[in-house]
């Protein structure tokens, strides 16, 4: 299996909204594009979390280039399909690549990634010019 995903964040969100609207968010229902991601934003930074169970941190590549965050790598099945009898197959595996265009400029040199219990977290500080500014109002 091979995934290739290059949607913009807006497109991805639109697709997700549609799925939510259609009720594809019930108990146990999971969307299929791997890895699933959640993106949070505040004034200072973006925080992306990606579900990657069963992947070792050496198997994931995180890059940020020209405002596009890309997660790529490969997930092993954990067994040899030729040698076993599959009774149920719900997990997806193989090569994956997922790219997200970030809505605002980030400081690409300060991006940090951590990996814990199969969840990748990427913290992307916003570039100075993308942070909201408080304008002082002079009162005479």
């Amino acid at each position: 299996m091979y995934w290739s995903y290059f949607p913009s964040l807006a497109m991805e969100q639109m697709e997700q909204n549609l799925k939510n609207l259609l009720g594809d968010w019930g108990l146990g229902e999971r969307t299929r594009s791997f890895p699933l991601v959640n993106l949070a934003e505040d004034d200072e930074q973006y925080i992306l979390a990606a579900e990657m169970p069963g992947i070792k941190k050496e198997q994931v590549k995180v890059t940020v280039r020209e405002g596009v965050l890309t997660l790529s790598g490969e997930r092993d099945a954990g067994f040899d399909e030729e040698k076993v009898t599959l009774i149920r197959e719900e997990r997806s595996y193989g090569k994956f690549e997922k790219a997200l265009r970030l809505p605002a400029k980030v400081d690409e040199n300060k991006v940090k990634a951590t990996f814990e219990n199969g969840i990748l977290t990427v913290v992307l500080p916003k570039a100075e010019e993308a942070k909201p500014k408080t304008i002082a109002i002079n009162v005479n």
Binding site: R30, V37, P53, G78, K83, E90
Partner: protein
């Protein structure tokens, strides 16, 4: 033949068991989700692979009850950040149950949790393993 019957058994009974078991006490107060699961069989054992992202060592409970149901409960310690602008996965605990065939040795269940992937191995009873029959010339 053996394989087929075991697989049918799982397919047939799983839904019911999950439905009746959901009334039981969960690991936490939050909503529980069904983890994606692969099941495969070899000559000697049945293996379950469950995706449990966010679950660390010591936070998954596995039991085989008196009705031969394998029950997995796991506590997710990952917390979603506030102000999500894109939300593709919900965060919550995990629960899933599977009915086991009689040919499995439930006293020898072993499990390993690594990087959010739980692997459960249940060996077959000796009498359920395929036997090679010598052919006399």
């Amino acid at each position: 033949m053996e394989v087929k019957s075991m697989s049918n058994e799982l397919e047939k009974r799983e839904k019911k068991e999950v439905a009746s078991a959901t009334a039981e006490q969960m690991t936490g107060t939050s909503q529980s989700y069904l983890p994606d699961t692969d099941i495969y069989e070899t000559e000697n054992e049945l293996v379950f692979l469950l995706d449990l992202p966010g679950v660390g060592k010591g936070n998954a409970k596995i039991e085989v009850n008196e009705n031969n149901i394998l029950v997995v409960r796991a506590q997710n310690t990952h917390k979603n950040s506030e102000n999500l602008s894109l939300r593709q996965f919900p965060v919550g605990d995990y629960f899933r149950a599977f009915s086991l065939g009689d040919d499995l040795d439930k006293d020898k269940v072993s499990a390993n949790l690594e990087n959010g992937l739980l692997e459960i191995r249940i060996p077959k009873k000796e009498e359920a393993k395929p036997k090679r029959i010598a052919i006399n010339a």
